[in-house]
């Protein structure tokens, strides 16, 4: 990083951290700059990585499929017109429809079948049984169309306990991850900027 760069990012870093004390004009200005830059960044990257090689160049080369792609782009951009913006629902519908169709086998396999395959282990140990009880009781917590009474209540209560263990574990792990980021920023402020590390 150049000295200018280090100073710029140090000022920005402090401006964002100032939000921890309270919202203030410096934070608000930095926030606007961050959002503006990031929108610009994404637009440039999208042009370079997708629109130019996949739409602009094929159209310039007069490829038939390139024109089809260009049509999708134009249909999407009808959103900007007050009169024709209903047309933008068509490309929207492609995304929704194709996404739904793609997700069914993918979800079925990765979220259900594989997880079940890993639950029903060939080797029976205490851990496998604890795991299976956890899966079944958690599922009973998600059982919606029956009042939670009787043995059902016990099962879903047990499921809640498993859920709490899971949430506690993720929270514990996450704290670590989040601290690493602060360590990175602090190293930058103390080391790269102030030079006291």
């Amino acid at each position: 990083m150049t000295p200018t760069g280090i100073w710029l990012s140090a000022i920005g870093t402090l401006a964002i951290f100032s939000f921890l004390y309270k919202d203030n004009p410096l934070y608000r200005a930095t926030e606007q700059i961050l959002v503006g830059l990031s929108v610009g960044y994404l637009i440039v990257m999208t042009f370079q990585s997708t629109l130019i090689p996949r739409v602009v160049e094929p159209v310039q080369n007069l490829e038939a499929w390139g024109f089809v792609s260009a049509i999708w782009v134009l249909l999407m951009w009808t959103r900007l017109s007050a009169k024709y913006n209903y047309i933008s629902r068509w490309p929207l519908a492609i995304i929704v429809g194709a996404g739904a169709g793609l997700s069914i086998p993918a979800m079925l396999k990765a979220r259900i079948i594989t997880q079940l395959g890993a639950t029903i282990r060939p080797d029976i140990t205490i851990d496998v049984i604890i795991g299976a009880v956890g899966v079944i009781s958690t599922l009973s917590y998600f059982y919606f169309t029956r009042p939670q009474t009787g043995p059902f209540r016990v099962a879903s209560k047990l499921g809640t306990l498993y859920l709490m263990v899971f949430f506690g574990a993720t929270f514990g792990y996450t704290i670590m991850s989040r601290l690493s980021l602060l360590i990175g920023r602090t190293e930058f402020l103390l080391g790269s900027w102030l030079g006291i590390l």
Binding site: I16, F19, D23, Y27, R28, E31, L34, V35, L37, S38, V39, Y41, L42, R79, S88, R89, L92, I95, V96, A98, G99, A100, L102, S103, I104, P105, L108, K109, I112, I113, T114, L116, G117, T119, I120, R121, P122, D123, I124, V128, I129, A132, V135, I136, L139, S140, Y141, F142, Y143, F144, T145, R146, P147, L163, F166, F167, G168, T170, F171, T174
Partner: protein, 385 residues
Amino acid sequence: MRAAGQPFSMRVWRWVSTLPLILFLWAPSHARPHVIVILPAEVSDVPWDAGTALEIRWQTELPGDFEIVILRNRQDGITDTVGRYPADVLMVVDRGLTPGREYTYDFFVYDKFGYQVSVTKGRTAVAPRKNWFDREKSSELVIVLLIFALLIWASAHKTETYVRPIPGLKAMEDAIGRAVEMGRPVLFSAGWGAQLDKPTTLAAMNIFGWIARKSAEYGADLRFPVHDALIMAAAQESAHEASLLEGKPEWYVPENIFYVTGSQFGYAAALDGIMERERPATNLWLGTFAAESLILSETGNHIGAVQIAGTDSTIQLAFFLVTCDYTLIGEEVFAASGYLTRDPRVLGSLWAQDMFKIVIALGITIGLIGSGFGWNEIGDWLRQI
């Protein structure tokens, strides 16, 4: 050329080079008779595929230290090596072929010392065929069809479905009403992880449709900053429809559903700013969230907003649970639209989902009891799908 005329070293070399052959003749007798025999090989189409593979089988009793080199000939005269295989492999699948094109195969057998002991030229040409169904996926197809059948049947026939109370959803209407009383906005977000081709986002948009209707009904100031213009378009359509259904077309202001940025922390920083300045009375975090979840909900907590969250992002659930008033966990997000709209078709499919849970619980129980007795069929079947 007379042998006697050769130098001594050459004679030694001839002996040395013949030695492998001599050793070979001493090899186990069962290996020998096949040496001169033509390799009986058979080439056939691989069924249930895209028509890009042929199956090559051969029969021999040669041991594994004999090797077979297979060459593939195209009708236009081009020859490639398929590969070099131990003789006792007996079966090879040749992939990456062109559907409908004809191929013949030649087999060269080498002994354990690398000597070529037989050549078999293939005569019949075989072409791989394209197919319309992949048999390896038949289990999945059956499961998909079963799920579809039950879901569709239940949607059509289950008219009365009980749904257990889901506190977060019960509180939603009050939370919107509260914002109206306080004269402050309702803030909605489907999360930075949302994309319109994900089922969770679709579920979140269904909830948003209901929220928009209630907001239109009560006259709440509903704001939805988005990170993706497709979601913006979908949400605007939803809100527009809600305003028309409630007979309040003037309630719909497209600018209230606005694009912020696709950058995760740009989005989080902007939402934090919006919360600090506009002080929404109610925050609704429903969709797919990543690390921004806690930045949003902790700031929301700080400004004293009532917060209802719901997500399929398992990691973020813990944060929402600690910082929000109500949290919908995983599948509750998918159940929400049925719960809120009371659409019998949606509730019916909820009932079907529950039936599958029973099947799954039974499957786990039976499968594990089976495993205890060494019967692993269920687990093995699931793992090979």
